[in-house]
Each structure stands twice: as structure tokens, then as C-alpha cells.
Amino acid sequence: MTLSTMLSTMAAGMLRTCGIFALTLIGSLPLGMVIALLRKSKFAPVRFLVSIYIAVIRGTPLMLQLLVWYFGPFYLFEWSIRGWRFPALILGFILNYAAYFAEIYRGGIESMPVGQYEAAEVLGYTRTQTFMRIILPQVVKRIMPSVTNEVITLVKDTSLAFTLAYQEVFSLAKQISASQTSFMPFVIAGVFYFIANYAVAFAMARIEKALDYYR
């Protein structure tokens, strides 16, 4: 196998890795906010369920969670899992990352000084207006460093998709390396992850800079 065929085979894997990455963020960034708000719900049972969910997600390996989402329907309900691999994978990633983002959001929301809420209340803002116009924009700025950390971890975590034998760049590297008895695929994968992380860090730095106009 020449280097160029190796590269082009792996390029498909890189695309799939980017797919996992993008879909996970698209799903988990907003879902995390929903979970963070539910965690502050007026109804104690809701708060309880959400805190259990977060504890379980954070207390077990993502790899295990992926296996549960993939094989669970079969073992529990004897459902056919054909075609379920990719949905299970994305579901597992989104639910996992949403829990972590929820905790980051909660920390950010709780770090807001009470004076901001009171100033808004006296000015007559509704609760929704207060959250959307006054609190959320400031929370976004406060949590950017933690979100960046999480996003960079996600780039590397996508490799866990190999657990479900999904052919993203890491699974492919392993396969090609075994069949070609070559170390090269791992080097290519490594360079890919490094560049991807570099791009992510760059993008996040740009966002943080864009939010630098106030303190």
C-alpha cells in the first residue's frame, strides 16, 4: 500500500471523525443548557433525576456508555440493532458531553453576582429576558476556558468510537496498521488529531478574543 492510498483511505475516516465531533457539539451544547436549567427546576423530582443522570454519566467511562447505548436495546428488549451503530454512537457522545457542559453552565450561572439579577428585576425585565439578555451573555464569556478544554477533550474522545467498530480515523489506523504491518497509519492519525486540536484551539481563542471587549 502506497502512502497516498493509505492517506486517501484514512481521509474517509477523518471525515467520519469530524462528523462525530460536529454532531456531538451541535447536540450537546444546547442540551447541556436544558439540563443545567432542569437541574435548577422548581420540582424536586426533576432536580433529583437530573443529578442522578449527571452522576452516572460522570461516574462511568464513556467507552462503557457507548457499549450500553449500542447493545442495550438488544439485551434489554431483543430489538434488532442493525443500522443502530451510528445513532447509538452519536447518542452516547451527546448525552455524555451534555452532562459535562451542563455542569460547566451551572457553574457559570451560579458565579453570576446576585446584583445583576436584582438590577434587572428592578428595571422590570421578566425572568426570561433577564436570563437571555443579562445573564447568559456574561455566562458564555465566563465559561469559555472550560468549554475550550471540553471541546479539545472531545477531539481526542472521538477515537473511542472504535469500541463500536465505527470506521473513524483511529479504527482505520489500527486496521491498516495490522494488515500492512506498518506504523505509518498511527503517525498519520496522530498528525491528524494534533492538527485538529490546533484548529480547535485557534478557533476558541478567536471566540474568546471576540468576547474581550468587556470585563
Partner: protein, 252 residues
């Protein structure tokens, strides 16, 4: 009467903070509230501006009742939609300014008028610029709060409250968080508002200011109004021992 507070009671976890407080403020009046730390001055303002709910008593704005005590002795408020009406009557200036840091000065002044009162943007901006001019900080319209001195921030906070066109403005120790050399510029704009007959209630430790500007002074201690009257009377010829004792500390 702009506002009447009648027999206001309020407690926090077993601590009686306000025990039967009554006073009213007429249109154009300036009332100062003085008193030792922990006497309940802030709590009183927070009840008047609906940041805290009272346990008992009556709050009346513009002759309309916002809260009263029912037969069972509990305070009941009007429906929250109606309460927003009452909120619009009053503004509050905080000790810590509480400006919105992600908005520039102009945005701080026009956001609530546009979003809450649904006023026209051009009109809101024009009102805001006039207020900033009056506060002497028109050149700071595009600055962010962190770029301003404490005195400038507090003047923006006053302008933000006035931009809502309240009937009455409450101040909770507006100069206590400021360096001494900056208190003057804030007191000056409050004095100017008093001359324009803005109705105001000012909690303050600035005794000479209270004496010079207010029409009436309320001295509070331990959740009660101990003395209430003409500033000259209260400051120079107090009837109560408690008042004398408090003022002596400031004379030194």
C-alpha cells in the same frame, strides 16, 4: 402621595428586621433615611422596590394598593402581571452600581426602555443622551463600565434608573462604595435632581448632604423609625436619646 408604606413588617429567619414601619413620600419630596448598620434601611428600600416581599403591612403607589394584609394577617400582593406596573413607578440605585458589564453605557440606558417598556429606539436613545449630558458623562456613551471610575459608574446607574422615567427613585448608600474624592460628583447630581423636584428617598451616611438636600429625615434603629421630621430639627435638636447617640458618632 407617590408612595405610602404602612405598618411594614419583615423578618429573616427569626430575625425581625422591620417592625411596623410607616412613612409616605409626596411628589417632589426628598427623604433621607439614616441609621446604624443593620437597622433595616436596605431591607426597607428593597421592600419598597419589590425586591423583597413584606410579611405584613401595606404598600401603596399613586393611590393604588400593591400589597396589603388580609384577615389572616398575611401580606398579599397584586397579581405579578399587575406588579410589573408598580415596578415601573420606582427605580433603585444600588451601592454597588450593578451596571451590566457586557453593555456599553448607552446600551445600559436604552435596553430596558426598549425591551421592557417597548419604547421607540430613537426616543430611548435621545432620552438617554440627555440624561448622560445632565450627569456630565455624555462623552462616555460608548464606553464600557469597566472603563469608568466608580463615580462615573454610579452616575450611569442613576441615569439608567431615570431612563425608565420612574415616579420615585430610591438610593441605597449611593456613595458608600466610592473613594472619598469621588462622592462629591455623585452627590452633586442627586442635589441637581432634587432641585428639579425629582421625588427621592436616599439612604445615606453623608449627614451634611442629608441635612442640606432633604425635606425630611427618617432615623431608623433596630427596625423601627425612632425619629422622623424636618432635617434641622432631627440633626440639631433631636428628641430621642437614640438619635443623639447616633449623631454624636458622626460629629466627631
Amino acid at each position: 402621595m407617590i408612595v405610602e408604606m404602612k405598618n411594614i413588617r419583615k423578618h429573616f429567619e427569626g430575625l425581625e428586621v422591620l417592625k411596623d414601619i410607616s412613612f409616605g413620600v409626596d411628589s417632589g419630596e426628598v427623604v433621607s433615611i439614616i441609621g446604624p448598620s443593620g437597622s433595616g434601611k436596605s431591607t426597607l428600600l428593597r421592600c419598597a422596590t419589590f425586591l423583597e416581599t413584606i410579611d405584613g403591612g401595606e404598600i401603596i403607589y399613586m393611590g393604588k394598593r400593591a400589597a396589603h394584609t388580609d384577615e389572616s394577617g398575611r401580606a398579599v400582593y397584586v397579581h405579578h402581571r399587575e406588579l410589573r406596573q408598580f415596578r415601573a413607578y420606582c427605580g433603585l440605585v444600588f451601592q454597588q452600581f450593578n451596571l451590566f458589564p457586557h453593555y456599553n453605557v448607552l446600551q445600559n440606558l436604552i435596553d430596558a426602555p426598549i425591551e421592557v417598556q417597548h419604547r421607540n429606539r430613537d426616543e430611548a436613545e435621545q432620552t438617554a443622551m440627555e440624561l448622560l449630558k445632565k450627569m456630565g458623562i455624555a462623552d462616555k456613551a460608548k464606553a464600557y463600565p469597566y472603563q469608568l471610575s466608580g463615580g462615573q459608574q454610579q452616575r450611569v446607574a442613576i441615569a439608567r434608573a431615570l431612563a425608565m422615567k420612574p415616579e420615585i427613585l430610591f438610593f441605597d448608600e449611593p456613595t458608600s462604595a466610592l473613594d472619598p474624592e469621588l462622592t462629591g460628583e455623585v452627590l452633586k447630581v442627586i442635589r441637581q435632581l432634587a432641585e428639579e423636584k425629582m421625588t427621592m428617598v436616599v439612604v445615606t451616611h453623608e449627614m451634611s448632604f442629608a441635612k442640606a438636600v432633604s425635606n425630611r429625615v427618617i432615623f431608623m434603629a433596630d427596625g423601627l423609625i425612632v425619629e422622623h421630621g424636618d432635617p434641622r430639627e432631627v440633626f440639631e435638636n433631636p428628641h430621642e436619646d437614640r438619635t443623639r447617640q447616633f449623631l454624636r458618632v458622626f460629629d466627631r
